[in-house]
Symmetry: C2
Subunit: 341 residues, 2 copies
């Protein structure tokens, strides 16, 4: 093992952003590779995940989880290899995902492990995207919260993203008409060619309202909302009776403090007997395996395709979240910090 | 029968309001009492109903029902007596409710009859309020859309109104903590003394946000929303995890054209895994009898009390809706146009 493996590079949160975290809120430090304690594992991280939800994890505003402490390693899911194990259920060499943080090495209790990666026929990186929280979020958000029915019209915002692209393809598998909203010609091409949307709308260059009317002549049954903001405002005007709006993310809102203004939604919901509902994927933890098994089959059969946007090296981590919010990624954003094998 | 009974006074819609209908949108005309045709009934209306929903019925904006035509009798539920019947299932003297319009006499097909009034031990006027759409709307909105559970905290806006007062009392019957929001000391007193709210908030005179925090120290599980606007904005900041917001009405919004701005709701719904849902009571028509039977028992046992605001004479009809929106009524607003008996 070369000497530099003895150093653990870590990304620490050093300031609490008002809105979207960026390079100035993090610092990269070097420390010795930790020694796992009793019952602990030493994980060598191979891929770090980058999620829009990280904005919430570092926010001081009330949230579903404790804010990451100032000075702590940035919270993150990662995929890695067990380097050493003081726990009877794990042995060196196993591939796992878990809450290992933005760092090269993590000494963690077994409870930090999310799962063993068993889809050895698929790339390890998929365990953090289409077979990870992104795919699972698409699955339960659309099928459970959205209560999708065959033949309905489904509109998805951030349609080419890690979650959105899965939503569109699952809706297609379920026999729905799918309309994707994304920004720029590259993402539009992905929507049409890779993810099979029946219609794709470029919110940056199209007349959103007019094109939406053409794409959804009978209105919208399910709106899977990853953005909020003006995109949602336009979709809400086209809800059908009994529509469901699944609130998954708010990517278009730069800051929720103070809460930004927008058109009030009550009349849409009343006249269309519609509902808007937020959800948190961790509430479905007991059913993750069910979703993952189904998603893996769909990936193997080609019914679900996915794209990845892999940044090389942990130096890329501090600016990676802000880049997501600027929409610069094509597909699931990951940071590769060591070769797979 | 005196001569004047041969004249039918009718309230016609003469102009389409942009917001809330008022005297200038109606005209009272006199015409001969109609003669019922084949299969028709002649109804002598005794009470006319006045509903916040009438704003929607006269609006040209897309809605759940055809707009009332300009020049037509104002659409309304009414309670009346069958004066003459050319239909085998009805006979003169029966008391009925139905879509008889704002007029003294109506010649209507049997399909316009909503039901025979069978609660002869209770005042006829109750058939248009607590045992009519108001009570039924409270019942299904709270129990079905709101999915109320014992022990929860329920906040109601327009808490002293025809629907709101029922919501609060049903929630109390179901073992919940009830917090009513209403305007002015008279309504507050009603909330506390007649309708049994655990806490009552005067949105006109209290510091709504502060008092709401005291009244709901653990947050809000169900918000039964009859107002939208700043009252809703304050309640939404206090939702608990898993909260349900029942959108029943938007009394505080003077006009929806253009749609007014307000704080965006998505983050509340996301972080609290909450839902907002609109409903239309006519979607529950097949279950009205179930609700009405339960409500009548609650009224008889004293578990539900109700207040009425009865205006005398059809001349009061044109201005009666705007008065509701000004909050000048205490309880269910009706217009009595003939003595009960």
């Amino acid at each position: 093992m070369p000497d530099r493996a003895k150093v653990n590079r870590q990304v620490l949160l050093t300031a609490r952003p008002a809105g979207i975290p960026d390079t100035e809120h993090f610092r990269i430090v070097e420390s010795p590779v930790p020694v796992p304690g009793d019952g602990q594992l030493l994980i060598r991280n191979l891929y770090l995940s980058v999620e829009p939800a990280m904005r919430g994890w570092v926010s001081a505003v009330a949230n579903y989880s404790e804010p990451v402490a100032i000075g702590a390693v940035m919270r993150s899911l990662a995929a890695g290899r067990v380097e050493a194990s003081n726990h009877p259920e794990f042995r060196p060499g196993e591939l796992v995902t878990g809450w290992f943080g933005w760092q090269e090495y993590a000494a963690v209790p077994a409870s930090a492990v999310e799962r063993r990666v068993t889809e050895t026929d698929l790339p390890l990186s998929a365990a953090l995207g289409v077979l990870g929280l992104n795919g699972i979020t698409a699955y339960f958000g659309l099928l459970d919260v959205g209560a999708l029915k065959t033949g309905e019209t489904v509109v998805v915002s951030t349609a080419a993203g890690a979650v959105g692209s899965c939503v569109g393809q699952i809706a297609k598998i379920k026999g729905c008409r799918t309309v994707g909203i994304a920004g720029g010609p590259e993402k539009l091409r992905l929507c049409r060619e890779a993810f099979g949307y029946d219609a794709a709308i470029d919110y940056k260059n199209d007349d959103l309202d007019a094109v939406l009317g053409v794409a959804c002549p009978d209105g919208v049954d399910v709106y899977y909302d990853n953005t909020a903001g003006p995109i949602s405002d336009a979709v809400l005007r086209r809800l059908r009776v009994g529509a469901r709006v699944v609130i998954c993310g708010t990517a278009s809102i730069a800051s929720w403090d103070p809460i930004p203004q927008g058109p009030r939604v009550e009349r849409h919901l009343l006249v269309k007997r519609a509902r808007m509902q937020g959800f948190l994927i961790f509430d479905y933890a007991a059913r993750f395996d069910e979703a993952r098994a189904t998603l893996a089959e769909w990936v193997r059969s080609g019914a679900i395709r996915y794209r990845e946007d892999i940044l090389e090296g942990i130096d890329k981590a501090p600016g990676a979240i802000a880049g997501l919010y600027r929409g610069e990624n094509l597909g699931k954003r990951l940071i590769r910090i060591a070769p797979d094998e």
